[in-house]
Symmetry: C2
Subunit: 391 residues, 2 copies
DNA sequence: GAGTTAACTCAACAATATTGAGCTTTCAAG
DNA sequence: CTTGAAAGCTCAATATTGTTGAGTTAACTC
């Protein structure tokens, strides 16, 4: 699928208003609780303009009043915060054999989730599953349909006919139709599509570790391994939506150069376990195997260390992020082990004297990361100002 | 130096106007010649709005009328194009021993250039040199001072106290003052600062090979080697302005892993030549040595091949650019040789079936690349809409 | 208790873009 | 050759939105 960058760029009263609305909403989200005067100062708008938009947001139930805050002299400022029930985002992760879905509220809390096996891997089966899941989640959570802000879809990349397609990630059922438009029509909702790593990266900003960060890189353990890079609060998607294909970069391993994915990925781990006759299906399985200090797993961890260090070093030097986050479909225990065992090189732009936080963080983990990420895409969009710089 | 992302985000009538002005200016630049109706359609503004802004731009001499274009039925549209003499950009490249400078007009043509040795490597000497160069260039080109849009400054990175500082790139004279503010005051001009690779990347967009591209990566041969990544027409500068430090990423070389810079950079080449007692100072020297098929040079080229392939492969897979551009302080001949000899891996997101142009391009080369890039930063800024997405 | 500070509202105002009517110029069909 | 359609453009009226400044309220300070 081709990413169409924003084309409409001219500003008029209406677009300025919706832009300002998003700006204010985002300000409220990042601040947690904040008053009108504060918002005005930090956005460069007049109090009056903020007041008008706040009134709008209140009547749309996107925000709620939170009492007054006495600071010092003067009239105590009325505080506002996001209204969790003001909007909901549907997240959908499409896999070859099943569809996962979750519903998040405006604050990023999971309200409901559901999984459904696919009876066939074709477009109709997927469409039907997605529609059913939407209805099931709405019903289970007693959410009125008109409170749905949109749907985020996660599908494995890469998008389009690139040199790194292979049988494991391919989803040829969308060959002749743009999946975003198709699903938007089927769900009767606005739709955003991203790959798993990008969605997970955005999720981290909405609910997780990256909430204070504007520029960071997320290394995502899916089946393979992916990178979601966020720069100045914007996703780096690449010219064709395939940026962050970190799995295929060459890293030093055992004296020669190997693709990162072959050393550091769920796939490589499960393959290694399989060779020893150990079956591991779920994140929980892996967690148990780690707890038992299973030898193959420990060996895999050791082999993964150097290649992962090299990859992180590359990411740091190319993106200069505030932090690198490790997350995805792995148990906490394994991610934590990796983070503990890695020694990041001193020769890196990220090794700053004025650094406050750690260079490496653990992000959201577990099987649902990408699904939650899908929903987070929608929430993120709700908070992203519309008049973007010309692309 | 810390990059301050745009903070002002709220839109009002005035900001919307200046935003639209930049949008239209950029549209004219990319189109070359274009009429009002066309601009209106491609920006989502009304003809009337475009007309008003065009009138403004005409009276500011930023654009000029270019006759009428008869297409089919209807009133032939009046065409507009940039007015080269409507504005000028000063580019300054600060080196430890000298300052290079150039003056570009709005269309990116070089109007004048000048070099000046530094009598000392301290702040006052630099300030004095920069002021003198500004005046010399204005006088030589008979440009009135009020037509200067601003100054772009290029200094070698990385900025701030990072783990990769070393004696060769360090510029400690700015330790206690923000160089952008200092120089802005000294020059009485708005100032933009970037490292050499980033500036060169932007220059390519304004005048060079990348004029049609929105997402591309520029590998820059300075003293070392740097990367300037442009994503959706925006520079990826990183959280602290140090993104693109590609010189320090590990690449496979001679069976082991080496920093790219040690294999592929001007520095490494000059060092290799020096070991054989061959002195090479300038780009022209290198060109002559290449023409003479000097053996050390040819050996260096061969050794550079694999590491460079690995680096480009990494860049492609992480950024998914439309193209990778090679340029900088090297002669055309050597850059072309490298481009000819490189074999890019098929396993890359950039190996697309629908690809039209080549994956690898040669950019601007020669000693002045960074200086011209510095000026291009200013021109770029002139065309970049002001209401940016919240950072 | 008087003065100060700060948040907030109201009403008048200003900046900008949009809309629709009308003019002009070109092409094409009869 | 005439007429009508199509497209670019201008003018004047209108709409949307944000800003400004005066006035109100509520807290703190002396």
């Amino acid at each position: 699928m081709i990413k169409t960058s924003d084309i409409v760029v001219g500003a008029n009263a209406g677009r300025a208003r919706s832009h300002n609305r998003q700006v204010i909403l985002d300000r409220i989200r990042t601040a947690g609780r904040i008053g009108r005067a504060d918002i005005a100062r930090s956005t460069g708008l007049s109090t009056q303009a903020v007041s008008n938009i706040i009134a709008d947001l209140l009547s749309d139930r996107m925000i709620a009043e939170q009492g007054r805050q006495v600071v010092g002299r003067g009239l105590p400022a009325v505080q506002y915060a996001l209204n969790a029930k003001g909007g909901f985002a549907l997240g959908v992760e499409i896999r070859p054999d099943a569809v996962f879905s979750a519903l998040l509220n405006l604050c990023g809390d999971k309200v409901a989730s559901e999984r459904m096996s696919l009876r066939a891997n074709d477009r109709n089966a997927v469409t039907e599953a997605v529609r059913t899941l939407r209805d099931t989640l709405l019903k289970a959570s007693k959410t009125p349909k008109n409170r749905l802000l949109g749907a985020g879809i996660v599908m494995p990349g890469p998008f389009g006919e690139t040199g790194i397609r292979d049988g494991e990630t391919e989803l040829p059922i969308w060959a002749d139709v743009a999946p975003d438009r198709w699903l938007s029509k089927a769900l009767e909702l606005p739709v955003v599509i991203e790959n798993d790593a990008n969605a997970a990266a955005i999720a981290e900003r909405i609910v997780g570790t990256a909430s204070g960060l504007k520029t960071y890189a997320y290394i995502y353990f899916g089946n393979g391994i992916g990178l979601g890079a966020v720069h100045g609060a914007r996703l780096i998607a690449g010219a064709y939506g395939n940026a962050g294909e970190i799995g295929h970069i060459p890293v030093p391993a055992a004296g020669k150069s190997m693709p990162l994915e072959s050393m550091v990925s769920r796939m490589s781990l499960i393959r290694a376990l399989g060779k020893e006759g150990i079956a591991a299906e779920s994140v929980d399985d892996l967690d148990r195997l780690y707890a038992a200090k299973t030898q193959v797993l420990m060996a895999w961890l050791e082999n993964a260390q150097k290649p992962l260090e090299a990859a992180i070093s590359i990411v740091e030097n190319l993106f200069d992020p505030e932090a690198v986050i490790l997350g995805g479909a792995m148990p906490d225990s394994i991610l934590d082990h990796l983070i503990r065992s890695l020694t990041l090189p001193d020769k890196s732009v990220s090794n700053r004297e004025d650094r406050t936080g750690p260079r490496l963080l653990r992000g959201t983990s577990g099987r649902m990361t990408a699904t939650l990420g899908a929903a987070a895409l929608v929430i993120n969009q709700t908070f992203t100002p519309k008049i973007a710089a010309q692309a």
